[in-house]
Protein backbone atom coordinates (compact mmCIF):
# COMPACT_ATOMS: atom_id res chain seq x y z
CA UNK A 1 0.00 0.00 0.00
CA UNK A 2 1.29 3.46 -0.78
CA UNK A 3 1.18 6.03 1.94
CA UNK A 4 2.23 9.59 2.58
CA UNK A 5 4.69 10.91 5.14
CA UNK A 6 1.77 12.31 7.14
CA UNK A 7 0.06 8.91 7.22
CA UNK A 8 3.32 7.30 8.32
CA UNK A 9 3.78 9.78 11.17
CA UNK A 10 0.14 9.62 12.26
CA UNK A 11 0.32 5.84 12.50
CA UNK A 12 3.69 5.93 14.26
CA UNK A 13 2.32 8.33 16.87
CA UNK A 14 -0.87 6.29 17.22
CA UNK A 15 1.22 3.23 18.18
CA UNK A 16 2.87 5.31 20.91
CA UNK A 17 -0.56 6.19 22.29
CA UNK A 18 -1.54 2.55 22.71
CA UNK A 19 -3.40 2.06 26.00
CA UNK A 20 -3.90 5.78 26.65
CA UNK A 21 -7.36 6.78 27.80
CA UNK A 22 -7.10 10.55 27.71
CA UNK A 23 -5.01 12.13 25.00
CA UNK A 24 -4.71 15.89 24.87
CA UNK A 25 -3.41 17.85 21.92
CA UNK A 26 -2.42 21.51 22.14
CA UNK A 27 -2.24 24.33 19.67
CA UNK A 28 -0.95 24.07 16.06
CA UNK A 29 -0.67 20.27 16.10
CA UNK A 30 -2.55 18.73 13.17
CA UNK A 31 -0.48 15.51 12.88
CA UNK A 32 -0.61 14.72 16.63
CA UNK A 33 -4.29 15.66 16.56
CA UNK A 34 -4.95 13.23 13.72
CA UNK A 35 -3.12 10.49 15.63
CA UNK A 36 -5.19 11.15 18.74
CA UNK A 37 -8.40 11.01 16.71
CA UNK A 38 -7.22 7.78 15.08
CA UNK A 39 -6.61 6.17 18.48
CA UNK A 40 -9.99 7.40 19.65
CA UNK A 41 -11.65 5.92 16.57
CA UNK A 42 -10.12 2.45 16.98
CA UNK A 43 -10.53 2.30 20.78
CA UNK A 44 -14.27 1.67 20.90
CA UNK A 45 -14.80 4.53 23.29
CA UNK A 46 -11.94 3.65 25.64
CA UNK A 47 -9.75 6.54 24.47
CA UNK A 48 -10.82 10.19 24.41
CA UNK A 49 -9.06 12.80 22.30
CA UNK A 50 -9.05 16.39 23.49
CA UNK A 51 -8.15 18.62 20.54
CA UNK A 52 -7.49 22.22 21.49
CA UNK A 53 -9.57 24.44 19.23
CA UNK A 54 -12.12 21.74 18.39
CA UNK A 55 -15.72 22.27 19.37
CA UNK A 56 -16.53 18.59 18.98
CA UNK A 57 -13.46 16.69 20.16
CA UNK A 58 -13.23 18.18 23.59
CA UNK A 59 -14.32 16.16 26.61
CA UNK A 60 -13.84 19.21 28.86
CA UNK A 61 -16.12 22.19 29.41
CA UNK A 62 -14.91 23.93 32.54
CA UNK A 63 -12.58 26.56 31.19
CA UNK A 64 -8.85 26.99 30.87
CA UNK A 65 -7.70 25.46 34.17
CA UNK A 66 -9.50 22.16 33.61
CA UNK A 67 -6.96 20.44 31.34
CA UNK A 68 -4.13 21.36 33.70
CA UNK A 69 -6.08 20.26 36.75
CA UNK A 70 -6.84 16.89 35.14
CA UNK A 71 -3.18 16.51 34.19
CA UNK A 72 -2.22 17.34 37.77
CA UNK A 73 -4.48 14.53 38.94
CA UNK A 74 -2.90 12.04 36.54
CA UNK A 75 -6.03 11.91 34.40
CA UNK A 76 -4.26 12.93 31.16
CA UNK A 77 -2.17 10.11 29.71
CA UNK A 78 -0.52 11.72 26.70
CA UNK A 79 0.31 15.19 25.42
CA UNK A 80 2.45 16.76 22.71
CA UNK A 81 5.07 19.47 22.95
CA UNK A 82 7.45 21.13 20.53
CA UNK A 83 10.25 23.57 21.08
CA UNK A 84 12.24 26.35 19.46
CA UNK A 85 15.17 24.38 20.80
CA UNK A 86 15.35 20.82 22.13
CA UNK A 87 18.52 19.32 23.55
CA UNK A 88 19.85 15.80 24.07
CA UNK A 89 18.61 15.54 27.66
CA UNK A 90 15.09 16.36 26.56
CA UNK A 91 15.13 19.94 27.82
CA UNK A 92 12.84 22.14 25.76
CA UNK A 93 13.00 25.86 25.07
CA UNK A 94 9.91 27.75 23.97
CA UNK A 95 11.10 31.16 25.19
CA UNK A 96 14.18 32.58 23.50
CA UNK A 97 17.72 32.13 22.22
CA UNK A 98 20.69 34.06 23.51
CA UNK A 99 20.88 35.54 26.97
CA UNK A 100 17.56 35.80 28.81
CA UNK A 101 15.85 38.24 29.32
CA UNK A 102 17.55 40.18 26.47
CA UNK A 103 17.32 37.51 23.82
CA UNK A 104 18.59 37.20 20.28
CA UNK A 105 15.33 35.66 19.14
CA UNK A 106 12.15 35.64 21.14
CA UNK A 107 9.71 32.74 20.74
CA UNK A 108 6.07 32.99 21.89
CA UNK A 109 6.55 31.53 25.38
CA UNK A 110 6.41 28.36 27.44
CA UNK A 111 2.62 27.84 27.35
CA UNK A 112 1.74 24.84 29.55
CA UNK A 113 5.02 23.00 29.04
CA UNK A 114 6.47 23.87 32.47
CA UNK A 115 3.64 21.86 34.02
CA UNK A 116 2.47 19.23 31.53
CA UNK A 117 6.01 17.92 30.97
CA UNK A 118 5.97 16.99 34.68
CA UNK A 119 2.46 15.65 35.03
CA UNK A 120 1.62 13.80 31.79
CA UNK A 121 3.23 10.34 31.60
CA UNK A 122 3.71 10.23 27.85
CA UNK A 123 4.79 13.53 26.39
CA UNK A 124 5.63 13.14 22.73
CA UNK A 125 7.90 15.83 21.35
CA UNK A 126 6.97 16.67 17.80
CA UNK A 127 9.20 19.00 15.80
CA UNK A 128 9.30 18.60 12.03
CA UNK A 129 12.27 20.90 11.37
CA UNK A 130 15.24 18.64 12.00
CA UNK A 131 18.25 20.98 12.11
CA UNK A 132 21.15 21.93 14.34
CA UNK A 133 19.35 25.22 14.95
CA UNK A 134 16.54 23.33 16.70
CA UNK A 135 18.28 20.23 18.08
CA UNK A 136 21.05 21.79 20.12
CA UNK A 137 23.62 20.56 22.59
CA UNK A 138 22.11 22.64 25.38
CA UNK A 139 19.03 24.83 25.19
CA UNK A 140 19.51 28.54 25.94
CA UNK A 141 16.45 28.63 28.20
CA UNK A 142 14.76 25.69 29.90
CA UNK A 143 10.99 26.06 29.58
CA UNK A 144 10.77 22.56 31.00
CA UNK A 145 13.57 20.16 31.86
CA UNK A 146 13.74 16.68 30.32
CA UNK A 147 14.33 15.04 33.69
CA UNK A 148 14.35 15.93 37.37
CA UNK A 149 16.22 14.80 40.48
CA UNK A 150 14.67 11.85 42.33
CA UNK A 151 13.13 13.99 45.10
CA UNK A 152 10.97 15.86 42.58
CA UNK A 153 7.43 14.56 42.12
CA UNK A 154 7.35 13.83 38.44
CA UNK A 155 5.12 11.16 36.96
CA UNK A 156 5.53 12.73 33.52
CA UNK A 157 8.19 13.44 30.98
CA UNK A 158 9.41 12.89 27.44
CA UNK A 159 8.53 9.64 25.73
CA UNK A 160 9.65 10.16 22.14
CA UNK A 161 10.83 12.80 19.72
CA UNK A 162 9.43 12.78 16.21
CA UNK A 163 11.00 14.83 13.42
CA UNK A 164 10.87 14.98 9.65
CA UNK A 165 13.87 12.63 9.55
CA UNK A 166 13.39 10.08 12.28
CA UNK A 167 11.92 8.91 15.55
CA UNK A 168 13.85 8.97 18.81
CA UNK A 169 12.74 7.21 21.99
CA UNK A 170 13.68 8.88 25.28
CA UNK A 171 15.62 6.77 27.76
CA UNK A 172 14.39 7.99 31.15
CA UNK A 173 17.21 6.29 33.04
CA UNK A 174 20.04 7.72 30.94
CA UNK A 175 18.32 11.04 30.11
CA UNK A 176 19.21 10.57 26.46
CA UNK A 177 17.48 9.97 23.18
CA UNK A 178 17.90 6.69 21.31
CA UNK A 179 17.28 6.60 17.55
CA UNK A 180 14.39 4.22 16.95
CA UNK A 181 13.62 4.46 13.25
CA UNK A 182 14.39 6.42 10.11
CA UNK A 183 11.85 7.92 7.77
CA UNK A 184 11.95 6.61 4.19
CA UNK A 185 15.09 7.68 2.35
CA UNK A 186 16.82 9.07 5.45
CA UNK A 187 20.27 7.83 6.55
CA UNK A 188 21.87 7.72 9.98
CA UNK A 189 24.54 10.07 8.69
CA UNK A 190 21.91 12.60 7.69
CA UNK A 191 20.45 12.48 11.19
CA UNK A 192 23.90 12.95 12.74
CA UNK A 193 24.67 15.87 10.44
CA UNK A 194 21.49 17.69 11.41
CA UNK A 195 21.44 16.96 15.15
CA UNK A 196 23.40 19.15 17.55
CA UNK A 197 23.23 16.69 20.44
CA UNK A 198 24.65 13.21 21.02
CA UNK A 199 22.20 10.35 20.89
CA UNK A 200 22.28 6.59 21.15
CA UNK A 201 21.47 4.19 18.31
CA UNK A 202 21.48 0.45 17.81
CA UNK A 203 23.92 -1.35 15.51
CA UNK A 204 21.24 -1.85 12.91
CA UNK A 205 18.84 1.03 12.60
CA UNK A 206 15.74 0.22 10.60
CA UNK A 207 12.98 2.27 9.06
CA UNK A 208 9.94 3.50 10.94
CA UNK A 209 7.32 0.74 10.89
CA UNK A 210 5.06 1.35 7.88
CA UNK A 211 1.47 2.28 8.61
CA UNK A 212 -1.14 -0.41 9.02
CA UNK A 213 -3.30 -0.45 5.83
CA UNK A 214 -6.60 -0.52 7.72
CA UNK A 215 -5.52 2.53 9.68
CA UNK A 216 -4.54 4.38 6.53
CA UNK A 217 -8.01 3.63 5.22
CA UNK A 218 -9.47 5.01 8.42
CA UNK A 219 -7.36 8.17 8.18
CA UNK A 220 -8.56 8.77 4.65
CA UNK A 221 -12.20 7.87 5.26
CA UNK A 222 -12.86 9.37 8.66
CA UNK A 223 -9.96 11.05 10.43
CA UNK A 224 -9.30 13.55 7.63
CA UNK A 225 -12.83 14.81 8.03
CA UNK A 226 -12.61 14.91 11.82
CA UNK A 227 -9.35 16.87 11.92
CA UNK A 228 -10.68 19.19 9.21
CA UNK A 229 -12.98 20.79 11.76
CA UNK A 230 -9.92 22.25 13.51
CA UNK A 231 -7.33 22.20 10.70
CA UNK A 232 -9.15 22.50 7.35
CA UNK A 233 -6.07 23.59 5.40
CA UNK A 234 -3.98 20.72 6.71
CA UNK A 235 -6.74 18.22 6.03
CA UNK A 236 -7.13 19.46 2.48
CA UNK A 237 -3.46 19.94 1.54
CA UNK A 238 -1.88 17.05 3.37
CA UNK A 239 -4.55 14.42 3.92
CA UNK A 240 -6.39 14.90 0.65
CA UNK A 241 -9.67 15.81 2.36
CA UNK A 242 -12.17 17.26 -0.07
CA UNK A 243 -15.07 18.02 2.28
Amino acid sequence: MEYTREELLICAIARMLDGCRNIAVGTASPIPGSAALLVQAISNGAAKASILGSNIHNPFNDGGPELFDRAGQGRVDAFFLGGGQIDGEGNINLVSTGHYPEPDTRFPGSFGSGYLYFTVPRVILFREEHSRRVFVKKVDFISAPGWSPPDVYRPGGPYALITSLCIFIYDKKRHRFRLDGLLPGVTLEEVHDNTGFDFDYPDHIGPVVPPEPDRVDLIRSRIAGEIAETYPKFARDRLGWNG
Binding site: P108, G114, F118, Y153
Partner: protein, 277 residues
Protein backbone atom coordinates in the same frame (compact mmCIF):
# COMPACT_ATOMS: atom_id res chain seq x y z
CA UNK B 1 -33.60 45.92 22.27
CA UNK B 2 -32.41 49.20 23.73
CA UNK B 3 -29.10 49.56 25.53
CA UNK B 4 -29.50 49.72 29.33
CA UNK B 5 -29.11 53.24 30.72
CA UNK B 6 -26.40 52.19 33.14
CA UNK B 7 -24.14 51.05 30.31
CA UNK B 8 -21.11 53.15 29.39
CA UNK B 9 -19.33 53.57 26.08
CA UNK B 10 -16.05 51.72 25.51
CA UNK B 11 -14.26 55.07 25.48
CA UNK B 12 -15.75 55.92 28.88
CA UNK B 13 -14.57 52.56 30.17
CA UNK B 14 -11.08 53.07 28.74
CA UNK B 15 -10.85 56.48 30.39
CA UNK B 16 -11.60 54.88 33.77
CA UNK B 17 -8.46 52.72 33.46
CA UNK B 18 -5.51 54.75 34.69
CA UNK B 19 -2.02 54.56 33.25
CA UNK B 20 0.01 51.94 35.05
CA UNK B 21 -2.98 49.71 35.83
CA UNK B 22 -2.59 45.94 36.08
CA UNK B 23 -5.00 44.45 33.55
CA UNK B 24 -6.05 40.81 33.27
CA UNK B 25 -7.20 39.60 29.84
CA UNK B 26 -8.32 36.20 28.55
CA UNK B 27 -6.82 34.18 25.75
CA UNK B 28 -7.67 34.56 22.08
CA UNK B 29 -10.79 32.38 22.06
CA UNK B 30 -11.88 33.31 25.56
CA UNK B 31 -13.81 36.48 24.78
CA UNK B 32 -11.26 39.23 24.21
CA UNK B 33 -12.65 42.76 24.37
CA UNK B 34 -10.94 44.18 21.32
CA UNK B 35 -13.26 47.19 21.58
CA UNK B 36 -11.85 48.20 24.96
CA UNK B 37 -8.38 47.42 23.58
CA UNK B 38 -8.91 49.88 20.73
CA UNK B 39 -10.36 52.44 23.13
CA UNK B 40 -7.27 52.14 25.35
CA UNK B 41 -5.06 52.86 22.34
CA UNK B 42 -7.30 55.82 21.40
CA UNK B 43 -6.93 57.31 24.84
CA UNK B 44 -3.16 56.75 24.60
CA UNK B 45 -2.96 54.64 27.73
CA UNK B 46 0.58 54.25 29.01
CA UNK B 47 2.60 51.91 31.25
CA UNK B 48 -0.14 49.28 31.42
CA UNK B 49 0.85 46.01 33.00
CA UNK B 50 -0.75 43.06 31.22
CA UNK B 51 -1.54 39.72 32.80
CA UNK B 52 -2.61 37.33 30.05
CA UNK B 53 -4.85 34.47 31.14
CA UNK B 54 -2.82 32.59 30.28
CA UNK B 55 -1.75 33.65 26.74
CA UNK B 56 -2.61 36.36 24.24
CA UNK B 57 -2.41 37.22 20.55
CA UNK B 58 -3.37 40.41 18.70
CA UNK B 59 -4.66 42.13 21.85
CA UNK B 60 -1.30 42.15 23.61
CA UNK B 61 0.54 42.73 20.34
CA UNK B 62 -1.50 45.81 19.39
CA UNK B 63 -1.23 47.35 22.85
CA UNK B 64 2.52 46.81 22.84
CA UNK B 65 2.85 48.19 19.31
CA UNK B 66 0.89 51.30 20.29
CA UNK B 67 3.21 51.95 23.23
CA UNK B 68 0.62 51.28 25.94
CA UNK B 69 2.49 48.50 27.76
CA UNK B 70 5.36 48.62 30.23
CA UNK B 71 5.21 45.05 31.50
CA UNK B 72 3.64 41.72 30.62
CA UNK B 73 3.21 38.53 32.60
CA UNK B 74 2.37 35.75 30.17
CA UNK B 75 2.76 32.13 29.15
CA UNK B 76 2.90 33.08 25.50
CA UNK B 77 2.05 35.72 22.93
CA UNK B 78 1.62 34.46 19.40
CA UNK B 79 -0.54 34.90 16.35
CA UNK B 80 -0.94 31.12 16.22
CA UNK B 81 -0.95 29.65 12.73
CA UNK B 82 -0.34 33.13 11.28
CA UNK B 83 3.05 33.37 12.94
CA UNK B 84 4.85 35.33 15.61
CA UNK B 85 3.38 38.36 17.32
CA UNK B 86 5.60 41.01 15.77
CA UNK B 87 5.43 43.86 18.31
CA UNK B 88 5.69 41.52 21.26
CA UNK B 89 8.73 39.85 19.73
CA UNK B 90 10.45 43.11 18.84
CA UNK B 91 9.69 44.74 22.19
CA UNK B 92 11.13 41.80 24.13
CA UNK B 93 14.17 41.50 21.87
CA UNK B 94 14.84 45.24 22.23
CA UNK B 95 14.19 45.25 25.96
CA UNK B 96 11.38 47.80 25.53
CA UNK B 97 9.01 45.98 27.88
CA UNK B 98 9.55 43.98 31.02
CA UNK B 99 8.64 40.34 30.51
CA UNK B 100 7.66 38.00 33.30
CA UNK B 101 7.57 34.56 31.73
CA UNK B 102 5.19 32.01 33.23
CA UNK B 103 3.53 28.72 32.38
CA UNK B 104 -0.24 28.51 31.91
CA UNK B 105 -1.38 26.74 35.11
CA UNK B 106 0.88 28.99 37.20
CA UNK B 107 -1.06 32.03 35.99
CA UNK B 108 -4.35 30.32 36.79
CA UNK B 109 -2.95 29.46 40.22
CA UNK B 110 -1.92 33.07 40.86
CA UNK B 111 -5.49 34.14 40.10
CA UNK B 112 -7.00 31.30 42.13
CA UNK B 113 -4.99 32.42 45.14
CA UNK B 114 -6.38 35.92 44.67
CA UNK B 115 -9.90 34.52 44.17
CA UNK B 116 -9.66 32.75 47.52
CA UNK B 117 -7.94 35.57 49.35
CA UNK B 118 -5.12 33.21 50.23
CA UNK B 119 -1.54 34.48 49.92
CA UNK B 120 -0.28 31.75 47.59
CA UNK B 121 -1.17 28.59 45.73
CA UNK B 122 1.05 25.51 45.47
CA UNK B 123 1.62 23.85 42.11
CA UNK B 124 3.46 20.78 40.90
CA UNK B 125 5.99 21.00 38.08
CA UNK B 126 8.04 24.09 37.07
CA UNK B 127 11.03 22.93 39.16
CA UNK B 128 14.37 23.11 37.40
CA UNK B 129 13.04 25.42 34.70
CA UNK B 130 14.46 28.81 33.80
CA UNK B 131 10.94 30.14 34.21
CA UNK B 132 11.29 29.52 37.93
CA UNK B 133 14.92 30.68 37.98
CA UNK B 134 13.77 34.08 36.70
CA UNK B 135 10.83 34.52 39.05
CA UNK B 136 12.08 35.65 42.45
CA UNK B 137 8.45 36.13 43.47
CA UNK B 138 7.82 32.37 43.11
CA UNK B 139 9.01 30.41 46.14
CA UNK B 140 9.94 26.76 46.54
CA UNK B 141 9.37 24.86 49.78
CA UNK B 142 9.58 21.23 50.75
CA UNK B 143 6.06 19.78 50.80
CA UNK B 144 5.01 20.01 54.46
CA UNK B 145 2.62 17.08 53.91
CA UNK B 146 5.43 14.72 52.84
CA UNK B 147 6.90 12.38 55.41
CA UNK B 148 10.60 12.84 55.89
CA UNK B 149 11.14 16.09 54.00
CA UNK B 150 12.14 16.65 50.40
CA UNK B 151 9.47 16.75 47.69
CA UNK B 152 9.86 20.42 46.68
CA UNK B 153 6.75 22.33 45.59
CA UNK B 154 6.51 25.74 43.94
CA UNK B 155 4.28 28.40 45.56
CA UNK B 156 2.74 31.09 43.37
CA UNK B 157 1.77 34.41 44.96
CA UNK B 158 -1.76 35.76 44.58
CA UNK B 159 -2.14 38.11 41.59
CA UNK B 160 -4.92 40.65 41.84
CA UNK B 161 -5.45 42.63 38.62
CA UNK B 162 -6.82 46.14 39.05
CA UNK B 163 -9.16 45.35 36.17
CA UNK B 164 -10.41 42.23 34.47
CA UNK B 165 -11.36 43.10 30.90
CA UNK B 166 -13.25 40.80 28.54
CA UNK B 167 -16.07 40.47 26.03
CA UNK B 168 -19.14 38.42 26.93
CA UNK B 169 -22.04 37.05 24.86
CA UNK B 170 -24.75 38.66 27.00
CA UNK B 171 -25.40 41.42 29.47
CA UNK B 172 -28.76 42.28 31.02
CA UNK B 173 -30.19 45.49 32.44
CA UNK B 174 -29.62 44.31 36.01
CA UNK B 175 -25.86 44.51 35.74
CA UNK B 176 -25.35 40.80 35.14
CA UNK B 177 -23.02 39.45 32.49
CA UNK B 178 -23.13 35.96 31.00
CA UNK B 179 -19.91 34.20 29.99
CA UNK B 180 -21.29 30.66 29.75
CA UNK B 181 -18.70 27.94 30.19
CA UNK B 182 -15.73 30.31 29.96
CA UNK B 183 -14.76 29.76 33.57
CA UNK B 184 -11.46 31.60 33.11
CA UNK B 185 -13.52 34.79 32.79
CA UNK B 186 -15.32 33.94 36.04
CA UNK B 187 -11.95 33.31 37.69
CA UNK B 188 -10.57 36.56 36.32
CA UNK B 189 -13.61 38.50 37.58
CA UNK B 190 -13.40 36.94 41.05
CA UNK B 191 -9.67 37.54 41.28
CA UNK B 192 -9.68 41.15 40.12
CA UNK B 193 -10.55 44.32 42.01
CA UNK B 194 -13.03 45.30 39.31
CA UNK B 195 -14.36 43.86 36.07
CA UNK B 196 -15.00 45.85 32.89
CA UNK B 197 -16.98 44.09 30.19
CA UNK B 198 -18.22 44.60 26.68
CA UNK B 199 -21.24 42.52 25.70
CA UNK B 200 -22.27 41.21 22.33
CA UNK B 201 -26.02 41.24 22.98
CA UNK B 202 -28.52 42.49 25.52
CA UNK B 203 -30.35 39.68 27.33
CA UNK B 204 -34.01 40.38 27.84
CA UNK B 205 -34.76 39.47 31.44
CA UNK B 206 -32.65 38.81 34.52
CA UNK B 207 -29.80 36.36 33.98
CA UNK B 208 -29.65 35.64 37.72
CA UNK B 209 -33.29 34.55 37.71
CA UNK B 210 -32.99 32.18 34.74
CA UNK B 211 -32.12 28.74 36.14
CA UNK B 212 -30.49 27.69 32.87
CA UNK B 213 -28.37 30.84 32.50
CA UNK B 214 -27.46 31.21 36.18
CA UNK B 215 -24.41 28.94 36.04
CA UNK B 216 -22.69 31.06 33.38
CA UNK B 217 -23.55 34.44 34.89
CA UNK B 218 -21.27 36.90 36.69
CA UNK B 219 -23.34 39.04 39.08
CA UNK B 220 -23.06 42.83 39.56
CA UNK B 221 -21.08 42.49 42.79
CA UNK B 222 -18.01 41.92 40.57
CA UNK B 223 -18.84 44.13 37.61
CA UNK B 224 -17.61 47.72 37.53
CA UNK B 225 -18.91 48.75 34.11
CA UNK B 226 -20.52 47.29 31.01
CA UNK B 227 -20.55 48.60 27.44
CA UNK B 228 -22.65 47.35 24.55
CA UNK B 229 -20.28 46.41 21.73
CA UNK B 230 -21.63 44.12 19.02
CA UNK B 231 -18.76 42.25 17.34
CA UNK B 232 -16.65 43.56 20.20
CA UNK B 233 -14.16 40.68 19.93
CA UNK B 234 -13.49 41.30 16.23
CA UNK B 235 -11.13 40.39 14.57
CA UNK B 236 -11.00 37.57 17.14
CA UNK B 237 -13.82 35.10 17.60
CA UNK B 238 -16.64 34.99 20.05
CA UNK B 239 -17.24 31.23 20.23
CA UNK B 240 -20.86 30.47 19.56
CA UNK B 241 -21.36 33.79 17.74
CA UNK B 242 -18.67 34.35 15.12
CA UNK B 243 -15.35 33.01 13.93
CA UNK B 244 -12.15 34.99 13.92
CA UNK B 245 -11.40 37.07 10.87
CA UNK B 246 -8.33 35.33 9.49
CA UNK B 247 -7.96 37.69 6.53
CA UNK B 248 -7.90 40.67 8.84
CA UNK B 249 -5.32 39.04 11.10
CA UNK B 250 -3.10 38.45 8.06
CA UNK B 251 -3.49 42.07 6.99
CA UNK B 252 -2.59 43.13 10.55
CA UNK B 253 0.64 41.16 10.31
CA UNK B 254 1.45 42.75 6.96
CA UNK B 255 0.80 46.21 8.35
CA UNK B 256 2.85 45.49 11.47
CA UNK B 257 5.97 44.90 9.40
CA UNK B 258 6.68 48.62 9.30
CA UNK B 259 6.10 51.60 11.56
CA UNK B 260 4.18 53.41 8.85
CA UNK B 261 2.12 50.37 8.04
CA UNK B 262 1.11 49.95 11.69
CA UNK B 263 0.36 53.68 12.03
CA UNK B 264 -1.91 53.44 9.00
CA UNK B 265 -3.57 50.37 10.50
CA UNK B 266 -4.25 52.20 13.76
CA UNK B 267 -5.54 55.23 11.91
CA UNK B 268 -7.99 53.14 10.01
CA UNK B 269 -9.20 50.62 12.57
CA UNK B 270 -8.63 52.32 15.91
CA UNK B 271 -8.75 56.07 15.53
CA UNK B 272 -11.35 56.12 12.72
CA UNK B 273 -13.19 53.17 14.30
CA UNK B 274 -13.56 51.31 11.03
CA UNK B 275 -14.89 47.90 11.98
CA UNK B 276 -15.55 44.49 10.57
CA UNK B 277 -16.85 44.09 7.04
Amino acid sequence: MSVPETYLSTDEIASSIPDGALIGVPKEDGGVSMEITRALIRRKARRLRLLTVPVSSIQADMLIGAGCVAEIETSGVSMGEFGYAPHFRRAVENGDILIRDATCPALYAELQASEKGTPFMPLRGILGSDILANRPDWKTIDNPMADGGGDPVVLLPAARPDFAIFHAPFGDRHGNVWVGARRECVLLAHASAETLVTVEEIWDGNLMEDQHMLAGTIPPIYVGAVAYAPRGAWPLSLPGSYERDGEHLKSYLTAAKSKDGFAAYLDRYVFSKEGAA
